[in-house]
Amino acid sequence: MATEGHAPTASEYVIHHLTHLNNTGHAQENIVDWSVINIDSMFYSIVIGALTVFLLWKAASKATSGVPGRFQGIVELLVEMVADQAKGIVHSAESRKFVAPLALTVFVWIFLMNAMDLLPVDLLPRIWEGVYAAGGGDPAHAYMRVVATADLSATLGMSTGVLLLCLYYNIKIKGVGGWVHELFTAPFGNHPLLYPINFAMQIIEFVAKTVSHGMRLFGNMYAGELIFILIALLGSTATVFGFFGHVIAGSIWAIFHILIITLQAFIFMMLTLVYVGQAHESH
């Protein structure tokens, strides 16, 4: 940041924090550009995803039917919770074999990605700036966002995954003919005049589910991140008010955010199960 001898202004600071590190080296200009990929989101989601499955695998590899340790206990608690929810929502034991583990992964993965929000907002970006500058780059262009779930592409990527699962199970459970029949006859009924309306409603439903699914998580985490950035700005005023404001507001928001990150991870998992469960039900 602090290049050319001047500290960034508040808006420069915020924009810097909200710009992804991508393969172009500068902020993405178009709203949709499939040639761009966010390196920071991919890095953190893959590292945290690997950590997630590593932790779960570690618990699973040592799983014993005897007295469980604390670590095994917490993983078992999660598994039981997800298995119970899956059993209540997805009424197909065959589908649950994949959907329940998926829901568990999604919950833990998203929870950990969200939890990156609780790290000091400047910690990792500042380290990255140092590394980038040491490599001869301009730290003003050393962008880094550590919360992968505050990236709309990432959350919509996951919700699109859920959409694909829904389409897969629709075809698997109802057959291609059955599903096409449902697309044109539900929700209003089997009448040639109603076919276009029914089909339009079905398409809107799928799009709305997927977009709201991804947008909900993204919106919550993006807003949370933004508030952390604003609180950090308050502290940067280096006054007594700024200092105490930063400490108090930062503490309150971080504590409240523990609830949000857990809740959003849980909601994403539950909606995944609900949408897949709906794909199993015939109208």
């Binding site: 178009n30 949709v32 989601s45 499955v53 779960l56 074999k97 993965w109």
Partner: protein, 157 residues
């Protein structure tokens, strides 16, 4: 707030992680949980069975105690009976022995009396004769007066 290829990459990562969990995480944990559930169910069943066994054993103990008490009573009754029998026998034997002893004693006493009487009779006869001798100042011919003496003896009976 832009869309880009991150979406596709994240989608792929999403399925890879889910696949990994399905393959390597979920089955062992669920297996352990099911096994533990079975173990607990077995343990509870065993506890129930043990409880039932205990109740049965207690019942048996009570029954055995009752039987033992009963047989002890029988033993005591028969022992008492036997004891009283023995006492009765002993008493009868004692009575018999006493009776025999008394009889023997009586017989002895009778014989002794008889002997004493005989002796006394002889002595009395002698005394009478001696007395009569002194009174008559003469010798009495015992053979002459044998009849008289014999009569006297008879009278002293």
């Amino acid at each position: 707030m832009n869309l880009n290829a991150t979406l596709i990459a994240q989608l792929v990562v999403f399925f890879i992680l889910a696949w990994f969990t399905m393959k390597f995480v979920w089955p062992p944990i669920v297996k352990a949980l099911d096994e533990r559930a079975n173990k607990i169910a077995d343990g509870l069943a065993a506890a129930d069975k043990a409880k039932a066994d205990l109740a049965l054993a207690e019942k048996k103990v009570v029954e055995e105690l009752r039987k033992a008490r009963e047989s002890a009573g029988d033993v005591r009754a028969s022992a008492e009976k036997q004891a009283s029998h023995l006492i009765d026998d002993a008493r009868a034997e004692a009575a018999r022995i006493i009776a025999a002893a008394r009889e023997a004693a009586e017989a002895e006493a009778g014989a002794a009396t008889q002997r004493a009487k005989e002796a006394l009779r002889d002595q009395v006869a002698h005394l009478a004769v001696a007395g009569a001798e002194k009174i008559l100042r003469r010798e009495i011919n015992a053979e002459v007066h044998a009849e008289l003496l014999s009569n006297l003896k008879q009278e002293l009976h």
